[in-house]
């Protein structure tokens, strides 16, 4: 579905470097990282808006630059910015841009509008941010894409629709032939739905692995600091408090922990947070960060 090999892209002072990962068909990839980590740039590369300076990109088996039309026909996108014409109705916008897609179906668009509680006769400019994103989502689904590229859509959705959103996405990939890339920093949803997780930090890929593999890769260990020190170089970052310390540890199945230590599986949010600390040198070898 997606293949990236040593992809590099420079945009002004920002550089996306050495991005390598794959996403097989039928899965959801969660793209996480702080603001400015490079998530949107990476999505722009996948959409064919940017050309990579180096490396190889394959989207649905094709190069998004040389096979631009073929790739774009099979991609659905939702971007967290104001797209489409504000002076037109939702239906008008969908029809206007839908004509570029051979598979566009107005009936399908109307069906999703009904499902998402949108009126196709409403002016886009009068819609709230969340409604605009719902419209983009309905439009993306209306031309039967094989791959959905979603850039931070969930932040503007109400909790009720967020459930519906993930329900639709799960239905979308259920035939095993399609895929979803979802960039977000709301990691709680990815904890539930993502099959793969890729994390970007300052333009670099920190990891890209299966969610269950990721759950095995790290641990949060809390306890007395001297006991945490015994874990040695497995400790990536440490947060010291008044009554003990909390360490972010690279875990392996063979690792044994002192019974006095409290070990837990980190959430994606914790992984993001502690990775950032690690990058800033907050391990025992670096500057100890006071919590």
């Amino acid at each position: 579905m997606l293949q990236l090999e040593h992809v590099e892209k420079r945009l002004g002072n920002f550089k996306l470097s050495d991005i390598t990962f794959e996403l097989p068909k039928g899965y959801i990839l969660g793209l996480i990282g702080k603001n400015g980590a490079g998530k949107t740039t990476l999505l722009h590369l996948l959409m064919g808006l940017y050309t990579a300076d180096a490396g190889k990109i394959r989207v649905l088996g094709d190069d998004p630059k040389t096979q631009e039309v073929r790739v774009k026909r099979r991609i659905g996108w939702v971007l967290s910015e104001d797209l489409f014409g504000a002076g037109q109705t939702l239906g008008g916008n969908a029809d206007m841009y839908g004509k570029y897609y051979p598979e566009y179906s107005r009936a399908k668009f109307l069906e999703y509008c009904g499902r998402f509680g949108l009126s196709p006769k409403r002016l886009l400019g009068k819609c709230s941010k969340g409604e605009k994103l719902k419209f983009q989502f309905a439009f993306a689904l209306s031309h039967a894409p094989k791959l959905l590229l979603l850039d931070e859509p969930t932040a503007s959705f109400d909790p009720e629709f967020r459930d519906e959103f993930f329900k639709v996405i799960t239905e979308f990939i259920s035939d095993g032939e399609r895929g979803v890339v979802l960039a977000t920093h709301l990691t709680a949803d990815l904890d539930r739905y993502a099959d793969y997780v890729a994390m970007l930090e300052q333009g670099k890929l920190v990891f890209c692995m299966e969610r269950c593999e990721l759950a095995d890769a790290y641990r949060i260990v809390s306890g007395e600091e001297y006991k945490l020190r015994l874990l040695g170089d497995k400790v990536l970052s440490v947060e010291s408090g008044k009554y003990g310390a909390k360490a972010f540890v690279k875990h392996s199945r063979r690792m044994a922990y002192d019974t006095a230590l409290c070990v837990s599986v980190p959430t994606l949010e914790e992984i993001m947070f502690y990775h950032a600390m690690w990058q800033n040198g907050a391990g025992f070898t670096g500057n100890l960060r006071k919590g």
């Binding site: 002004g12 073929r70 104001d82 504000a86 002076g87 841009y97 570029y100």
Partner: protein, 236 residues
């Protein structure tokens, strides 16, 4: 492609016009245009028709520039169009935007010719001036900026673009003013001598400036239009 572009221009007019009305900079040439003719109206009103038949299409070119200039929706780059299709889209869009003022000018001059208010030669020169003017103004309107919200920003084109726009605007206004309001009719000039010489000088200066600018920026405008990144690079 014609149908597609025309549809996009049609749907883009209302929000574009709203944006245009918010930009006070465009009001100044409009005021200037009307102020130029004011003293002459007091002396003699016979050339007012000729003047406005030339100036209104020129104003429409500026309005079209204000309405469509500097923006293209990001969706355009996300949709499955090839570079060649986007190039065609730009050329057709330029053709429509440049062609509309010429059409208005042809219409007005034809009416004036039929009413025997102007000679064929002058009508031809007026239409030619409008054609030159709107051709250059529409290239500017093609300076597409990858702006998702559709708000007008100057991007995608080199800095000289704005300066040349002002030069063409002033040359165009004065060329048309001398041609219609002062000389009146090249076949039977209202004023001979230096006024007519100035008219020809302005006419050719305007034509040359337009040719230079069109040749210089047309390809660049296409380059910006075809590739999302080309337009964005200049913003960084």
């Amino acid at each position: 492609m014609w149908k597609m572009v025309a549809g996009d221009l049609y749907h883009g007019f209302k929000p574009g016009f709203k944006r245009f009305m918010e930009q006070t900079a465009y009001i100044f040439p409009m005021i200037f245009w009307n102020l130029l003719i004011a003293p002459l109206i007091l002396v003699s009103g016979q050339y007012i028709l000729l003047y406005y038949a030339g100036m209104l299409p020129m104003m429409s070119a500026v309005i079209l520039f204000g309405v469509y200039g500097g923006t293209v929706n990001k969706v355009f780059y996300l949709c499955p169009l090839s570079g060649d299709e986007r190039r065609k889209y730009f050329v057709v869009s330029w053709g429509i935007r440049a062609g509309l003022p010429v059409f208005f000018s042809l219409l007005f001059e034809a009416v004036l010719c039929l009413l025997n208010r102007v000679s064929l030669q002058t009508a031809f020169l007026v239409v030619l001036t409008v054609a030159f003017f709107s051709a250059a103004m529409s290239v500017y309107a093609g300076s597409m900026n990858r702006n998702s919200s559709g708000a007008a920003r100057s991007g995608g084109m080199p800095a000289g673009y704005t300066a040349w726009g002002a030069v063409i605007l002033m040359l165009g206004i004065f060329a048309m003013f001398f041609l219609t309001a002062l000389v009146g009719d090249v076949k039977k000039p209202r004023f001979n001598g230096m006024v007519t010489v100035f008219m020809w000088m302005l006419f050719f200066a305007h034509a040359l400036a337009v040719l230079f600018v069109t040749a210089r920026y047309f390809r660049r405008a296409i380059g910006c239009m075809v590739c999302y990144e080309n337009g964005r690079k200049r913003e960084l």
